[in-house]
C-alpha cells in the first residue's frame, strides 16, 4: 500500500506521567530469570527451526541456501547472546522478513523482467534439451514390441516387467535402463500376458489404474538413444528418436530429412522454416519485454489504453473525492448547526466497512436486470457493468463512494485548524464568500491536504480491488487480455495469472517495473511536499 509517512501526534506528557508507576512493575516482570528464560526459549525455537530447515536443505542438496541459513543462524545466536545493547537486536526480526519477502521479490521481479519467463519457457536450457529429446520419439517401422506388466521391485520402486514379443527374452525396465532377467522367473498365461514375476509384485486393479500417468511417463533408455515406453497397460514399444541433439554445434537435427533447429537466443530451437521445438527454456532477452510495450502492436494497443485509463481513473477519483469531501466539510463546518455529530458519524460509515465487502455489494446493486439502482431507484435499464463506458462510470462512482469519507474527515480537520482571525480579516476587507474560499481557505487547506492527495493518487493508481472486485476489469474488448476498466496492476496480474493463452511472467514483471517508476516519481513529489525527510536527522 502506498502511504506517505509523516510523524504522528506527540504522546501527551500527562499520560506518560500517569502510567509512570506501571513500567517499574512491568520491568520487574521482564527482568531477571523470567526475561532471560523468555529470551533463551525464543532463541531455542529459532535454532530448532533452523536446524530442521538445514537438514531438509542438506537432504535436497541445496548447498547455497544451506550455507546462507547456517551463517545467518550463527550470527543471530551471537548477537542475541552478547550482553551489549545492540540496535541490531531490535532490527533483525523485521529485517529478515523485509529481505525475504520484499527485497528479494523486488530483485527477482527485475531479473524476470529481462527474461522470456512464460508458459513454455520455464525450464533451464539443459532441462529443455532433455525434454525435447524425451518428447521427440517415434515408433519405427518394424520396431520391437513387448508384453508388459507394471510392477514394484523389492524396494517398492515402479518398474516394468517386459517380455520381448519376438525372442521371448525377459527384462526389467527402469528409468536407468533395461536389465535382463531369466525367463524362468516369469510365468505367462495362454494369451501371453504376464501373470507373475519372481522378486517383483505385479500391480493390479485400482492400484494399477491409479498409477496410469506414472506408467505412461516411464521412459526406459536402450541402446542408440532409443527408448521403451508403455503403450496402454500391458504392452510396451521401442521408440527411436526423431531428433538428434548435436552437442558440438548446440543444435537439433531431424534425422528423417536433416532439417537443423538452431538456438535462436530467445529460448527456443527453431528451424530455418520457423518451426519451433517445445519446450523452450528461460533465457535473458534484454529489453525485449519493455520494447514490446512500444513496438509490438499486440502488446502496445492494450498497454497504452490501460496506461491512459489508469491515470484517468486515479486522478478523477482523487479529485472528485476531494471535492465532495471538502464540500461536505465546508457545509458541516458551521457553528451552531444541529446534528453535526450525527451527520459526521453517518458519513464516515462507508469508510469503516472493509472495502472488498462494499465493492461486492455494489456489484449486486449495479446489476442491470435485478440491481436496486436500476430497478428500485432509477427505474431504468442502464448497463452499469456491461457497457465499456458505463463500466468506467461505475468504477469511478463506487470509488468515489469509498474514498470521499477520507477526504471529508481530513478536510474537516484542516478547515478547523485555519485560524479564524484570518477569515475574519478577509471578511473585514470585503472579501465575498467565493473570494474567501479561493484566496484564503483553499490555499491554507491544500498545505495539509495536498500530500494526502498525492498519497491517495499513488494508492488508487494500484487499486486492484476497486477495479477487479467490481467489474473484473471487464467488459472484454477486442484486444487480448485487457478489459475496458483494467488498470495497469490488474492488467499485470492477468498477464501473469489469468490469461487463457498462458502466463507471461516476463512481460508482467516488466509492466510492474514501469508502474513502480510512475508511482515512485509521484511519491517522491509527495515526500518532497511533506518534507518528511527532514525527520531523519
Amino acid at each position: 500500500m502506498s502511504r506517505a509517512p509523516v510523524p504522528t501526534q506527540p504522546a501527551s506528557r500527562s499520560t506518560a506521567a500517569a502510567v509512570g508507576a506501571l513500567p517499574s512493575r512491568l520491568i520487574a516482570t521482564f527482568s531477571g530469570p523470567v526475561g532471560f528464560a523468555l529470551k533463551i526459549a525464543l532463541l531455542s525455537i529459532v535454532n530448532a527451526l533452523s536446524v530442521w530447515s538445514l537438514t531438509t536443505l542438506a537432504s535436497r542438496d541445496k548447498w547455497v541456501p544451506f550455507i546462507v541459513l547456517a551463517l545467518a543462524t550463527l550470527a543471530i545466536d551471537g548477537i542475541y547472546l552478547m550482553r551489549r545493547a545492540f540496535p541490531l537486536k531490535f532490527l533483525i526480526p523485521g529485517t529478515i522478513f523485509l529481505l525475504g519477502f520484499q527485497v528479494i521479490p523486488v530483485l527477482y521481479t527485475v531479473e524476470v523482467a529481462f527474461t522470456n519467463y512464460s508458459t513454455g519457457h520455464v525450464l533451464e536450457k539443459n532441462e529443455a534439451i532433455t525434454g525435447i529429446q524425451g518428447a521427440a520419439l517415434n515408433q519405427p517401422e518394424n520396431g520391437r514390441t513387448y508384453s508388459m506388466a507394471p510392477a514394484r521391485d523389492a524396494n517398492g520402486k515402479l518398474v516394468l516387467v517386459l517380455v520381448d514379443d519376438e525372442g521371448g527374452r525377459a527384462y526389467v525396465g527402469t528409468p536407468d535402463g533395461l536389465e535382463p532377467i531369466p525367463s524362468s522367473a516369469i510365468r505367462r498365461d495362454a494369451d501371453g500376458a504376464i501373470v507373475s514375476a519372481k522378486g517383483y509384485r505385479l500391480l493390479k486393479g485400482s492400484e494399477l489404474f491409479g498409477l496410469d500417468k506414472q506408467i505412461t511417463a516411464l521412459t526406459i533408455p536402450t541402446s542408440g538413444q532409443k527408448a521403451i515406453r508403455a503403450e496402454g497397460l500391458d504392452t510396451a514399444i521401442e521408440l527411436e528418436p526423431v531428433l538428434r541433439y548435436d552437442r558440438a554445434h548446440d543444435q537439433f537435427v531431424r534425422i528423417k530429412d536433416g532439417v537443423v533447429f538452431r538456438d535462436n537466443d530467445r529460448g527456443s530451437f527453431v528451424s530455418a522454416g520457423g518451426q519451433e521445438l517445445e519446450p523452450g527454456w528461460k533465457t535473458g532477452v534484454g529489453l525485449k519485454n519493455f520494447s514490446r510495450m512500444i513496438h509490438n502492436p499486440l502488446v502496445r494497443g492494450p498497454f497504452l489504453r490501460v496506461f491512459v485509463w489508469t491515470f484517468v481513473f486515479a486522478s478523477v477519483v482523487v479529485l472528485l473525492s476531494f471535492s465532495l469531501g471538502l464540500f461536505l466539510a465546508i457545509t458541516l463546518d458551521k457553528k451552531g448547526m444541529g446534528l453535526q455529530r450525527l451527520y459526521r458519524s453517518l458519513l464516515v460509515i462507508p469508510y469503516a466497512v472493509p472495502g472488498f465487502l462494499s465493492l461486492l455489494v455494489w456489484q449486486g446493486l449495479l446489476n442491470d436486470d435485478f440491481g436496486v439502482v436500476n430497478r428500485g431507484i432509477l427505474h431504468a435499464h442502464i448497463p452499469w457493468l456491461f457497457d465499456p463506458n458505463w463500466a468506467k462510470v461505475s468504477v469511478i462512482l463506487v470509488s468515489l463512494w469509498l474514498t470521499f469519507p477520507y477526504f471529508f474527515l481530513v478536510s474537516l480537520g484542516a478547515l478547523q485548524s485555519i485560524p479564524s482571525e484570518l477569515t475574519e480579516a478577509a471578511k473585514v476587507d470585503g472579501a465575498g464568500a467565493w473570494q474567501l474560499f479561493r484566496k484564503v481557505t483553499l490555499p491554507l487547506l491544500l498545505i495539509a491536504v495536498a500530500p494526502l492527495m498525492i498519497a491517495s493518487f499513488a494508492f488508487n493508481f494500484n487499486n486492484f480491488n476497486n477495479i477487479y472486485l467490481l467489474t473484473g476489469g471487464g467488459p472484454a474488448t477486442d484486444q487480448p487480455i485487457a478489459g475496458s476498466t483494467d488498470i495497469l496492476i490488474s492488467y499485470t496480474w492477468k498477464l501473469a495469472f489469468a490469461a487463457g493463452k498462458g502466463a507471461d511472467y516476463g512481460l508482467a514483471s516488466a509492466v510492474a517495473i514501469v508502474i513502480f517508476f510512475i508511482v515512485a516519481a509521484i511519491s517522491t513529489i509527495g515526500f518532497a511536499r511533506t518534507r518528511v525527510l527532514e525527520n531523519v536527522a
Partner: protein
C-alpha cells in the same frame, strides 16, 4: 498535525448559546441548505448499506426480490451461511463461509499482531539508539516501500512455488506462507509512524529506568510499549483491515476453496450464485463488516490522526 487534533472538540461541541434564532428563508440560507446537503450525502453514503441489511433479513433470497424494507423478516439467510451440508432439493451450494471467515481472521489477526511487534522493535532501535547506518536504514525503508509487494506478485508467486518444493509449510496454498509474505511489508511506513511517536515519549523515563539497571529490552517492553498503546492499536487495526482486504497476493497463494479468505471466496461465490442467493450473501457481508466497523468506530479518534499522517486504508 495539529490540523486534526481539534476535529473532535471543535466540530462537535456546540456553542453554548446561538445568538439569535434565525427563521424562514434567512434560516434556510444560513443553515437549512446545510441540512439538505448533509441529508443527501448521508442517503448516498448509506443506501447500499441499508439494502444489505434489508436483504440479509429478507425472506426473498433473490437479488430481484430485494427491497429497502423486507417484506418478510427472517433469519433464514444467516442459517444458510452456517449450514455446511446441502439442504434437500435446494441448489444452494454449501458456501464455505465459516471457513473463509476463520481463515481471514487468522491471517489478518496474525499479520496485524506480528506487524506491530516487528515494526515497534525496529522503531525503538531508530528512536533510541544512535548508530552507524541509522539514517541510511530509515531512508532505505522508505525507498523499498515505494515498490509495494503488490507489484512483486509474480516474483512472490514464483518464490513461494520454489520454496514450497523444499518447505511445504511455506508453499502454495498454505496460510502460513501468506502471513510470512505479508510480514515482508511489516516494516516501512509502520516503523516511521511508530518512530515518530516513540520520539515524543520523554527520554527521562528511559534514563531513570536505566539508572535502576533496566536493559534496553526491559525498557522497550516495560515502558515504551505500554505508553504507545494508542499508536500500536491504530497500526494493528490498519494492518488488520489492509490484510483483510488484500486480494492479489492471496489469490495466487491460496488456491483451493477451503483455504481461501473472504475476498476470494465471496468473489467466486457471487460470480456463480449472485442472482439467486443475494440474501445469504448479504448476511455474510453483514457478519464480516460488523467487527471491522465496530473496531473502526471505537478507534476512530486515533485513526483520524494516523490517516492525516498519511496511512491510506484499502
Amino acid at each position: 498535525m495539529s490540523v486534526v487534533e481539534r476535529t473532535e472538540d471543535a466540530a462537535i461541541s456546540r456553542p453554548k448559546a446561538v445568538a439569535r434564532r434565525l427563521r424562514g428563508p434567512k434560516w434556510f440560507l444560513e443553515m437549512g441548505w446545510r441540512h439538505v446537503v448533509a441529508i443527501c450525502a448521508c442517503l448516498f453514503a448509506l443506501f447500499p448499506i441499508a439494502y444489505v441489511v434489508s436483504a440479509a433479513f429478507n425472506a426473498d433470497q433473490s437479488l430481484g426480490g430485494s427491497s429497502l424494507i423486507p417484506r418478510h423478516v427472517t433469519l433464514e439467510n444467516f442459517r444458510a451461511i452456517f449450514r455446511t451440508s446441502q439442504p434437500a432439493g435446494s441448489e444452494f451450494l454449501p458456501a464455505h463461509y465459516v471457513r473463509w471467515f476463520l481463515n481471514s481472521m487468522l491471517i489478518a489477526g496474525a499479520t496485524a499482531v506480528a506487524t506491530v511487534i516487528l515494526g515497534a522493535l525496529a522503531a525503538y532501535a531508530f528512536s533510541r539508539f544512535r548508530f552507524k547506518g541509522r539514517r541510511f536504514g530509515m531512508l532505505a525503508l522508505l525507498l523499498i516501500q515505494m515498490f509495494p509487494q503488490l507489484l512483486a506478485v509474480v516474483a512472490i508467486y514464483l518464490i513461494v512455488l520454489r520454496v514450497g518444493d523444499v518447505f511445504p509449510v511455506i508453499g502454495l496454498n498454505k496460510p502460513t506462507a501468506l502471513i510470512v509474505v505479508y510480514l515482508g511489508g511489516a516494516m516501512g511506513v509502520n516503523t516511521w509512524l511508530m518512530k515518530g511517536f516513540f520520539d515524543t515519549i520523554p527520554s527521562e523515563l528511559d534514563e531513570s529506568a536505566r539508572v535502576d539497571g533496566a536493559t534496553p529490552a526491559q525498557i522497550f517492553w516495560g515502558i515504551i510499549l505500554p505508553l504507545a498503546t494508542p499508536v500500536l492499536a491504530v497500526i494493528a487495526l490498519i494492518s488488520f483491515i489492509t490484510t483483510l482486504n488484500e486480494y492479489v497476493i492471496a489469490s495466487v497463494i491460496l488456491q483451493t476453496t477451503q483455504k481461501q479468505t473472504l475476498p476470494l471466496g465471496l468473489y467466486q461465490y457471487i460470480d456463480q450464485q449472485f442472482g439467486k442467493h443475494w440474501g445469504p450473501f448479504a448476511a455474510g457481508v453483514l457478519l464480516a463488516a460488523i467487527p471491522a466497523a465496530l473496531l473502526f468506530t471505537f478507534l476512530q479518534r486515533y485513526i483520524v490522526q494516523g490517516l492525516t499522517a498519511g496511512a491510506v486504508k484499502g
